[in-house]
Symmetry: D2
Subunit: 343 residues, 4 copies
């Protein structure tokens, strides 16, 4: 096999983004797409060459031409769809999180494992040029043993309240990316998390039982201590920075901007704001993660982000919620029964 | 017309680069390509969808399907090819310089003008995100009247001596890009140039009668004073920076790097070198200039870089050579007879 | 009074530093100095103009010429000396911490209050140009309501083990500066602290019952969440940075270096490391804090850093220790009995 | 001799600056000062400890206590005063330029040489931390053979027209500092200069026969090519930057600012402007140059900036003026008769 025929399930913002990125990858052929509003997306889908456009994702899964599916539907539909896809022997790329509960995710991972299909989770930031540069430097032992990691991760503006309500909350929806980044950088499993959070930006978010501002303090099994600083609203743009510190030095990354222009006037010296949001900042990561998913299928190798990675980040997110609710440090092991822990 | 069928003449490095970039532009269809080594490029050309692959560029020009050609052959073949293309009523995108002599360029421009085809010159740096940011800020009057401009333009390594010999020399081959950038930024015509140059990097370059290190001091009709600092060898990578200064402030741009990573160790604080060379730094400009060429054809509007722009930059390059030879400031008007000046 | 006659108690590193800085302040006259090794320091003290050089600090306190004393002796001697100074009606500038226990500090503050002398604690970082710039911007409402603050505070190398043993530990000796900085920046009192710490640099530090690496997560009464990142050994130099974030933006400061030099070579682009340690980085703060102490005496105004400030930072430091020991978030109110809280 | 008794001639801005800086140097004793407005400065002079305050500089020169004088009077008085000082066997520190004409400067240097006194010229920028860092890196062979140097040197605002009239013009008054910096960095003598200049900021400056905007292109005997970019008005502050480029790399320096604060808001990311002017930026250089002058006297060694250095920078400044007037490159040798060249 040197081409992978792809079906896409869910043509919202992220589904469309994937379709357009997949379209420029030589090893991928777009074949089928399902969406509740199939008629609305048909002209766009046709232009991209999709032969099958349907409201029913099962038709995509039963399409014999389809080798792999990208699950881009709302999170609450993930478990059912992934399970069905695994049964239909389709490889699965799934947006984060895999599900809203640890139990569901564990169940899904078991189905996937039993079916033998390739399963990748959409933690796209691992493919960002800045964070990869840090990872590469760590792998080349640039600063020796790692002592601490700090992530700053702020959105430019909060999502609509309707989204907030169904998002699973700041930790499961947003911080989960940062928790995965920590695991990727630290190269060890988290042991405990303590969180402080508040609703500082929009009282409506608080009324949904969510926070918009949070700091996580996390310890890892290898002794690394880490913090994650989240906010739903950095008025200056998408703030995505990483710092690592260790035995023989430290590393930092800055935000990307559209240009390196500096203007000096009587008012000061000013430069451009960070790129606005994830579509701008992480544009190239969506191509890269898909490319590597396809390579994993073609070469039958482990994908760069596994279901296990998905589960671990979810564990951190759920532990974060628990910590905030119970105002105490929470061990990740608390969230797993001994049976579950074996997955 | 909403698609432009393209033929490419010359499939060396830059010809191939254009073909691959054109391939991702929806409004362009790759149709024909000519190269002296047609057989060698055939597999690559087929994969890109070229139906006609030939050793004879006249076949491309006589192909009725072809709307426009990209002239990517050696400079000494430009005048003949462009003239033939204009006669065949094909739109022309030509790499810089148009020719090795002012007379030839003026002759070519006359042919193009008479034929009415669209003609664009490949000054791709005008499409660089950093330089465009400066231009945009100037257009929005961010710093008032312009007083001075400084360009730093250094290659990471000199070209092979064989290339140096047929390149037309540092000014016609390399500094010409910077001279065009000055005209674009200053928005006025150059009046006089004085140059100091030397062979500091490779004596073989000197033996070809060329220099590898040069500083140009240029005055413009609107009073702006500018410098261009060229070197054939910046060991740290492609150094492409621009500074402007005026009544109400100054602007600078920095080099682009592959990441924003900073590593602090006992040896110091270090960051990445500039992107290596033009393929890396100016990657996106090749798509943008082609896109705008196609838009100009489709909408029958003036292209963003005209034959006139090509001629003016060549005038500066030839005046620079004369200044170096005669060790004196040279007025651009010296290089034009009164008849020529009217083109 | 327009000149303040000063006595210095303790002529170790910090005592000598103060003496030399005080010497350039016009409103100060150096009068007396005590040190256990009076003979050793005599030549140096004479050159600076001290008339009285003694082993007995009580002689300094009984010297009628002395208006104010700088207490630069080891922390365990502070309570006794400050109490005696207050009784002798000498104004007191005391290095941090005031004492090793909340009770002692509270007792000392009561004596000082009753005596009516001016009392200032040596939190010199409040006078740093970078941190002052942040404070000034906050005061001018540059970013609206504050949501979070992050401090990075790393020493270039751990102190000798002998010092570690008598230092009171990382929180009381080192992080206390950062806790005070938080209070200064946040402009509210801390409510709770949670700490993770480890011995990652030198096992001997662990054997003293201390840590060399720690992260503090602190909440303030006004809702601000803050982190402090401490390490005893940043091989690249003294890492002292501050970030604040709020409603209308964010602010960061970088480390100071000896020059702005950047060197680009084939190995990368490198710049100077941060200034080595506190003597280099905070050099000018020692003059400024003393100048303001003297102004407070002369004008009979409240000093810029009060005993109350000293106590609050100590509360945070002791709560941090407790948090680490008991592996739980600690409220500052736990450390104060209701009577104590009134001080 | 381990203390140098100093007299100051001229108590304008720079004279007062020197006096206050000299006052903190242990090896210097302020003894005498002369100024046309002696009565006005008397209270200030007394506070600094000057015993002799007079309107007549000859009294300073005849004061047997005085070892060395700082000549801070207007440039047109320099030759007479320096000559008298040399005759009185007083060491001389003189502000730049030594005089307004090459002949006068040569005459003065001859007197100084014959008298055997130490003579230093006030090119204070050689002692700037950023430029020294470049010089030190060059001396340690960080970038191999030097190919080019670029200086940006812009004042924040033009001087009063009255000053412009008596200043000797932009090249003799302002660019002379940059020409000296070039010589210091390049470590070779200038051979030729070509200048373009204009009056862009204030027409009154043009009416004085001066320019306010200029670019110099200079070649050195060792093959280095250099540019100096001068403006009398950078609205964003004092712009003082240096770039060097060579065989194995390049170096740049940035302006100093009062803090490293960056503020990110909806309007962009902004930082502080450069320090306002020479008093702020070069504050510490005035102490350092004086300290080294004193060391040269005490140790009877050559001062760090000699009369020869003064002459060479003046040659460049006068050649720059000639180049601008005659619109041609000017060789420095044109300005010296064969006899003069021997000085």
């Amino acid at each position: 096999m040197d081409t992978v025929n792809v079906g896409i399930i869910g043509a919202g913002r992220i589904g469309k983004l994937h379709a357009e990125n997949l379209n420029v990858i030589r090893q991928i052929k777009l074949v089928a797409i399902s969406d509740l509003y199939a008629d609305t997306i048909r002209p766009w889908a046709n232009e991209l060459g999709f032969k099958q456009v349907t409201t029913d994702y099962m038709e995509v899964l039963h399409n014999p031409e389809v080798d792999a599916v990208f699950v881009c539907s709302p999170t609450d539909t993930h478990p059912e769809i992934i399970t069905a896809a695994a049964k239909a022997k389709k490889h699965v790329f799934c947006e984060k999180p895999v599900s809203f509960s640890i139990e569901d995710t564990q169940h899904v991972l078991k189905q996937v494992k039993d079916s033998g299909v390739t399963f990748q989770v959409g933690f796209n930031r691992r493919f960002d040029h800045n964070f990869k540069a840090v990872k590469d430097a760590l792998l080349s032992d640039a600063i020796g043993e790692l002592h601490s990691v700090k992530i700053t991760s702020r959105d430019p503006a909060p999502p609509p309240i309707s989204y907030v309500k169904s998002s699973g909350g700041l930790f499961v929806d947003m911080a989960i990316h940062d928790y995965d980044m920590l695991r990727y950088i630290v190269d060890s499993e988290a042991e405990e998390i303590y969180v402080q959070g508040a609703c500082r930006i929009d009282p409506e978010i608080g009324e949904c039982g969510d926070v918009d501002t949070a700091m996580s303090l996390i310890t890892f099994k290898n002794g690394v201590i880490a913090t994650v600083d989240n906010s739903r609203k950095a008025v200056y743009g998408y703030d995505q920075r990483l710092e690592v510190f260790g035995e023989r030095g430290g590393m930092t990354t800055e935000n990307d901007a559209n240009s390196t222009l500096k203007i000096s006037t009587v008012d000061g010296v000013s430069q451009e704001k960070p790129k606005y949001f994830f579509l701008e900042r992480y544009k190239e990561t969506y191509v890269d993660e898909s490319l590597q998913f396809v390579h994993s299928i073609i070469n039958n190798t482990e994908p760069p982000v596994t279901g296990y990675d998905g589960l671990q980040a979810e564990l951190l997110a759920h532990a974060a919620k628990l910590s905030l609710t119970e105002k105490r440090p929470v061990k990740l092991s608390e969230l797993l029964t001994s049976t579950q822990a074996q997955v």
